[in-house]
């Protein structure tokens, strides 16, 4: 190297040394490439080659050899109908059904709560998003307690027991109940997005419409609706892509009658050791999610052009419901009772019933909570409170939740800092894209990818399969899009000059971060933490493929009990899980004063 070149390099390094955000950004890019891009490439390669298992089935197949075998099998082969096309059809029908139902509910509720004179607004605003904090399959469990028929063995549901009517198959299992249960979970997306948009619609815009002679319905149609249209578009894409990738509910309500969606088919293929097939299906889900995100970004891009909120004279005047005020209030409360209170009561009641189909008082028991092992009941499984397996699950879940929350909140802050500070460079753009990439992976697909990648030692990592660290890793990576967004928005709110003034006064980077940036982004930090805690506590699809007996968490314990038809245990553990989530939320809000966490942040 010549002298001048040497000098320039030294100069560049000297400058770089004090621009920690570049260093941070590059470190993160390397890490995320390894954790996000490499796995994706790996499953692409795996899906294009033979696995050990294929050697027995396909003549001449050698492990690792290149082949389109899995693709032809999934897309055009003899089994393609049951492997791909039927699950795809079901997935799409469910997606459309769930989206329609949840958008309908969410939008109406948003309008009622934001724009009318309904009472208890604040209370309703908090309560209405509770289902969203819970695992999406809680309603499915409750559904089974009521509508299950005798087709799949085990005790039938309440309808059969109490009224002697056997519900038809379509009501007990399958697409219809899946749509209902998911719809009443995912409406929170539309509710949050649309109420957010409605809150920014200035009443004066509507009044101006009224003054130019439009009647109420026309105002709604011509003015309000177009203004919230982008939010509706976003909630459509978001709900559709989420319901498409979900595993729990379709597994509980679909698998018993062999109705598959793509996520449950991936699960089935993995269990049948057809890794190649499952990876092809996972890629299909990734592809579909990528399309959804593309449309979403188009919609959000357009939304920016709506300046509905002027700095001055902003007023929001509620619409008077008139004589409908009381009936509508009652209806909203009824809705909340049906989707929140009744399921909880049903689950709780069920755990107190010795025989799951006997509703007499004499059948009530505390056995499933405190009972000692009794081989006549639930294959001798001990009551929940004395069950070491369950307590182990509680500990694992909380350990996972807290460590993921801490890691995500800190990493999110640093990633956000690196992205925002190096803005305008290619490094910044790459990091932003990479940190958002896990969003594209449907949870179950990502689980499948990590299963394939970390079953053996890779690079610096030992074989992580079967350890807690793999669960933590995948949860942290999967939550990265949200926490890095939270970090970014926190950083964007902190004017650059606040750090620069500290720099001018001689503070080194670490001290600036600790004294200035961290305290100023604290509220985003804590709400990000709570959000990650909740999502990892209720996570099932992501980790179901990675769980081993020693790393069981509450959600997989519940799923296991349900699978073995130990309904009371499943429901009891579900209640414990819900209790943990609600108290975490309560404690966080109480002591840290963090603002509502379940916000539009997720979008």
């Amino acid at each position: 190297m010549n002298d001048q070149g040497h000098n320039r390099l030294k100069f560049g390094l000297a400058k770089l040394r004090y621009k920690n955000y570049y260093i941070l950004a590059v470190v993160f890019i390397v890490i995320f490439t390894f954790l996000v891009l490499v796995p994706l490439i790996k499953i692409l390669i795996t899906s294009l080659s033979f696995q050990a298992n294929d050697e027995r089935i396909v003549r001449g197949a050698r492990e690792g050899a290149f082949t389109f075998y899995h693709y032809t099998r999934v897309f055009v082969g003899r089994l393609s109908r049951s492997l791909f096309y039927k699950p795809l059809k079901n997935t799409i029908i469910i997606g459309i059904g769930v989206t329609t139902l949840s958008m309908f509910m969410g939008t109406i509720l948003a309008w009622i709560i934001v724009r009318t004179n309904i009472p208890f607004k604040k209370f309703l605003n908090t309560v209405i998003v509770i289902p969203y904090m819970m695992p999406s399959w809680v309603l499915a469990l409750a559904w089974l307690l009521v509508f299950k028929n005798n087709r799949t063995g085990g005790a039938p549901g309440m309808i059969t027991d109490l009224f002697g009517i056997v519900p038809p198959d379509w009501l007990s299992y399958g697409i219809f109940p899946i749509i209902i249960c998911l719809g009443f979970h995912y409406y929170a997306y539309s509710f949050l997005l649309v109420s957010g948009a409605l809150e920014t619609v200035n009443s004066e815009l509507e009044e101006a419409g009224a003054l130019s002679g439009l009647d109420k319905l026309k105002v709604l149609k011509k003015i309000t609706f177009p203004l919230v249209l982008p939010a509706l578009g976003s909630s459509f894409v978001l709900t559709f892509s989420r319901s498409m990738g979900t595993f729990g509910t379709p597994a509980l309500l679909g698998l018993p009658v062999r109705i598959f969606t793509i996520p449950t088919q991936i699960y089935a293929s993995i269990n049948a050791r057809n890794t190649g097939d499952s990876f092809v299906l996972a890629l299909v889900l990734v592809f579909m999610a990528a399309i959804a995100i593309y449309f979403n970004s188009k919609i959000i891009g357009k939304r920016k052009s709506y300046v509905t909120m002027g700095g001055k004279g902003f007023r929001s005047k509620p619409n008077n419901l008139g004589i409908w005020r009381i009936p509508i209030t009652v209806a909203v409360f009824m809705f909340l009772i049906i989707i929140i209170i009744i399921p909880v009561i049903l689950l709780a009641w069920n755990t107190l019933m010795l025989l799951p189909d006997d509703y007499s008082l004499s059948n009530l028991t505390t056995h499933f909570w405190v009972g000692e092992s009794n081989f006549k009941i639930s294959s001798g499984e001990e009551g929940i409170f004395r069950n070491p397996g369950i307590w182990g699950g509680v500990a694992n879940s909380i350990k996972l939740g807290i460590s993921a929350a801490l890691l995500n909140a800190f990493l999110g802050l640093f990633v956000g800092y690196a992205i925002v500070r190096s803005r305008g460079t290619r490094i910044s753009r790459s990091l932003e894209a990479l940190s958002f990439a896990p969003y594209v992976f449907p949870s179950i697909a990502m689980g499948a990818i990590y299963l394939g990648m970390f079953a053996r030692p890779v690079g610096p990592f030992p074989a992580l399969y079967g350890t807690f660290w793999l669960l933590l890793l995948i949860v942290v990576v999967k939550n990265m899009p949200f926490s890095s967004r939270t970090g970014m928005s926190a950083m964007l709110q902190i004017d650059k000059s606040l750090e620069e003034s500290a720099q001018i006064e001689g503070m080194p980077w670490f001290k600036r971060f600790w004294k200035i940036i961290f305290p100023l982004s604290r509220s985003g930090f804590f709400s990000g933490m709570l959000l990650t805690f909740i999502t990892s506590m209720r996570e099932l699809s992501l980790i179901i493929l990675l769980i081993t007996p020693s790393t069981r968490v509450l959600t997989t314990i519940i799923f296991g009990y349900e699978d073995q038809d130990m309904v009371q245990h499943a429901n009891g553990v579900t209640l414990i899980l819900m209790l943990i989530i609600v108290s975490a939320n309560f404690i966080m809000r109480r002591f840290l004063g963090s603002k509502s966490v379940i916000g539009i942040k997720e979008s």
Binding site: N7, R8, K10, F11, A14, K15, R17, Y18, G424, D495, S497, L498, E500, S501, A502, Q503, I504, E505, G506, M507, P508, K511, K515, I516, P519, L520
Partner: protein
């Protein structure tokens, strides 16, 4: 003893040049203002001195220390430059009290508790904020926040003050008061100061010297008086002075310049290769009379704008409009006929090609 020397600074943002071949010397203890329209590169220049931006090329020397040199490969980060900087937004840390805001940098310097307390009290007195040390920035008015920013900088006792439009967020009255304070502060502390503003009035009021910038280049550098009375080119002439300077089309006939379609002979002799020039005259240098006066030109009043201490009168003469500044109030009304006289002794003449000063 710290002067500042910038040599041959280049800076561009994604290919678009922001500062071009800028060289500038600020003498020790001098108050120098970088004046120019938004986007002219003045803030970028200031931030490069502080190290908050890196120049692409060039050298920055403060005192005897090279802060930055692309040629020698020297880079000192902002945290080691020991400068004072006041941000346009003040950049007070919202989660700390006034006292803590001032203390943080002093702690970093390794000062003892007692020294820090003493210094905080001193600077709070200096900026007239005694007793407000326990307040948070959000509990202060804009003017008080501005004073905290000054106090925080002064407490560090830097030899160089850099200020980025520090008064632009204050209302008009407060701004004038703060000018007085800043000028006094500079007089007392004698720190070398580089001050950035787009407000020509502020620049004229405060500075020892002004560097007028446009499109990343320094157009003229000189004392306020030089900048105001002898602008080097039409850009500076237009940018400095309010109301705006009158620019008249002129022709050279028989060696002397005539303006206003040849009807007014300035009797100024100019040798120039073209026969057309621009003549400029400040509104206060145009005299006006309601009676017909020999050698003066007749015009119609277009608009009258009284402002208390002065009245601006806009005249229409054929196609040209001329701005006149009169003292006090005036009885003139729209469409009145008046006679005016642009004093040739106060005129400057510029090339029509390069817009540079000829005479």
């Amino acid at each position: 003893m710290s002067g500042i020397k910038l040599s041959n600074i280049f800076k561009s943002y994604s290919g678009i040049p922001a500062v071009r071949s800028l060289s500038l010397e600020v003498k020790d203890g001098e108050f120098l203002t970088l004046l120019g329209p938004s986007g002219c590169g003045k803030t970028t220049t200031l931030r490069m001195i502080a190290g908050l931006e890196d120049a692409d090329k060039g050298e920055i020397v403060v005192g005897n220390t090279v802060f930055y040199s692309s040629l020698k490969g020297v880079y000192i980060p902002p945290e080691k430059r020991k400068l004072g900087f006041i941000f346009q937004s003040y950049a007070l840390w919202p989660h700390m009290t006034v006292r803590k805001n001032i203390a943080l940098g002093l702690e970093q310097q390794g000062l003892g508790r007692e020294d820090i307390e003493k210094r905080i009290e001193e600077v709070l007195v200096k900026v007239q904020l005694e007793g407000l040390g326990e307040r948070y920035p959000s509990e202060l008015s804009g003017g008080q926040q501005q004073r905290v920013a000054v106090a925080r900088m002064v407490a560090m006792e830097p030899e160089i003050f850099l200020m980025d439009e520090p008064l632009s967020n204050l209302d008009a009255m407060l701004r004038i008061d703060m000018r007085t304070e800043l000028k006094r502060l500079h007089h007392e502390l004698k720190a070398t100061t580089v001050y950035v503003t787009h407000d020509q009035n502020e620049a004229l009021t405060l500075s020892d010297r002004i560097a007028v910038m446009n499109k990343g280049e320094i157009k003229q550098i000189g004392s306020p008086e030089e900048i105001y009375t002898k602008p080097d080119d039409l850009f500076v002439a237009r940018f400095v002075g309010s109301p705006r300077i009158n620019i008249l089309q002129g022709t050279i006939e028989k060696g002397t310049v005539r303006v206003l379609k040849g009807r007014f002979n300035t009797n100024t002799q100019i040798k120039y290769k073209n026969d057309s020039v621009f003549a400029t005259i400040r509104p206060e240098d145009v005299r006006i009379n309601q009676r017909k006066t020999e050698g003066w030109l007749e015009a119609k009043v277009y608009s009258v704008l009284p402002a208390g201490s002065e009245t601006l009168v806009y005249l229409k003469y054929n196609d040209s409009s001329i701005t006149v500044k009169m003292n006090g109030f005036s009885s003139l009304k729209e469409d009145d006929l008046v006679w005016f006289y642009p004093d040739p002794a106060k005129m400057n003449f510029y090339s029509t090609e390069t817009e540079k000063l000829i005479k």
